[in-house]
């Protein structure tokens, strides 16, 4: 019995090779621009940087709430309030998220909406520590305030919805 064998038609072969060469060239150019500080948007689909740099410190976001008539800060169980986590942590745990004032404002306003009863103020803090190789010990623990948000304050979301007015607790 003859083998069932066929390949790319001859007329298409040069075009196909050209396309594959362009793909390889794209990845090479992306690699070149990835070495710079300003990475253009078109490079994103082909940009691969994983575990590239030193990461000497660990970080965690914690939050607390203050309720009307109570001066004390009460801890908020953030993982219970925003349970979804991807491999790299909770949605709010990436550095790019923490560095964005706008995103932190949305997180704070969403926290106000999801907490029952609604607090007066919520406060987000990043805890950072030095890692110790061979253990989960936290050395030189320090805190940095990320945001303090008054729950009565409105926050506009992308698409035009406003928190807390347009929120229904999920």
């Amino acid at each position: 019995m003859e083998r069932d064998a066929h390949t790319t038609p001859r007329w298409l072969q040069p075009l196909q090779l050209g396309g594959l060469t362009l793909l390889a060239a794209y990845f090479l150019v992306v690699f070149q621009v990835s070495l710079s500080d300003n990475i253009p948007r078109w490079a994103m689909p082909g940009l691969w940087q994983m575990f590239t740099l030193r990461d000497p410190s660990g970080a965690q976001v914690v939050a607390s709430a203050r309720y009307p008539g109570d001066g004390a800060w009460r801890p908020i169980d953030l993982p219970a309030l925003f349970p979804s986590r991807w491999g790299s942590g909770y949605r709010y745990s990436r550095n790019s998220f923490k560095k964005s004032r706008g995103r932190m404002r949305v997180l704070a306003a969403s926290t106000c909406v999801r907490l029952e009863p609604t607090p007066e103020v919520v406060r987000f803090v990043e805890i950072r520590w030095d890692k110790v190789l061979g253990s989960s010990e936290r050395r030189d623990v320090r805190e940095r305030e990320l945001i303090i948000h008054r729950c009565s304050k409105s926050v506009r979301l992308v698409g035009g919805r406003i928190l807390p007015d347009d929120a229904v607790t999920p």
């Binding site: 066929h6 390949t7 990845f27 070495l35 030193r54 349970p83 990436r94 992308v158 919805r161």
Partner: protein
């Protein structure tokens, strides 16, 4: 016949296509693991009335507001696409398109966390789309090598660029293995018992570090050499297995492994298939 045409005929000689069958099924497993549990996150993420974002090219939430019902519909569409890929045949390409629309609607709407394995699964799916995986009885067929070349280029990019970025961005990768040890201790994706133990093994870390960098950086070259091809892929299985045991990086390992049956040299893949008791004309 010209010299060029003879050369093209030689490099375009049909190759055993059975690997695409294995890849299609591994793709189904990887995509199911990646998207199946998303349904549990709909009330918190895609169907939530708060926590809406837009960033970079991901601006879907500026134009569409997903209610929980709509979000469940998008998820169902994604899963239907995966089921269609499992069915295969003529359903394969429309099913891949359906999966792509659903999966990337979710990523575009969430706008926070397009992960490496999300992008990688998209590239792999494009390879599957261009491949002969829609045909039946692939273990008895020989087809064009071009779709395999596409995947080799994509894998060379992810492994090669990752390795060379380490070499050029962080010279400390070459020295004492501390960089790897520190990543084992990441608060979110690290801190697994094996990773904590490994991070303290000062004799083992440099060996693991050097192996990782050499394997990643040289992958684009070594994968083409027939004699080294299975060794490179075996190292890939070991590399991702260690990653799986030491770090929480989602379905990254299974996504990466899904195209390995095609990356394996087709004649070696056929020999393996026959040794496992499979038949091929």
């Amino acid at each position: 016949m010209s010299w060029l045409q003879r050369r093209l005929d030689a490099i375009y000689a049909p190759q055993w296509a059975g690997g695409w069958l294995a890849m299609r099924w591994l793709w189904v497993v990887a995509a199911t693991i990646q998207h199946g549990s998303d349904v549990l996150s709909i009330p918190d993420v895609w169907g939530a009335p708060d926590m809406l974002f837009a960033s970079g090219p991901w601006r879907l939430a500026e134009h569409i507001y997903l209610t929980p019902t709509m979000a469940y519909g998008v998820w169902a569409m994604t899963m239907l696409g995966i089921a269609g890929v499992a069915v295969g045949g003529r359903a394969l390409r429309p099913a891949l398109a359906l999966w792509a629309i659903g999966a990337w609607m979710f990523l575009g709407y969430e706008a926070l966390n397009v992960k490496a394995h999300d992008r990688m699964l998209a590239w792999i799916s494009l390879g599957l789309f261009l491949s002969p995986a829609h045909e039946r009885d692939l273990t008895h067929k020989w087809r064009s090598p071009a779709p395999r070349w596409f995947l080799i280029i994509v894998y060379s990019a992810i492994y090669g660029v990752t390795g060379w970025n380490k070499v050029l961005h962080e010279p400390a990768w070459w020295t004492d293995g501390v960089v790897l040890g520190q990543h084992f201790l990441h608060f979110h994706h690290g801190l697994k018992p094996l990773g904590i133990w490994l991070s303290g093994q000062t004799w083992l870390l440099p060996v693991m570090t050097l192996t990782t960098i050499l394997w990643e950086s040289l992958f684009p070259l070594l994968i083409w050499i027939r004699r080294l091809n299975p060794i490179v892929l075996a190292l890939g299985i070991a590399f991702h297995s260690v990653l799986l045991l030491t770090m929480s990086v989602g379905p990254f390992a299974i996504v990466m492994w899904s195209a390995y049956p095609v990356l394996l040299h087709p004649e070696l893949a056929r020999a393996l298939w026959l040794r496992l008791g499979g038949r091929s004309r």
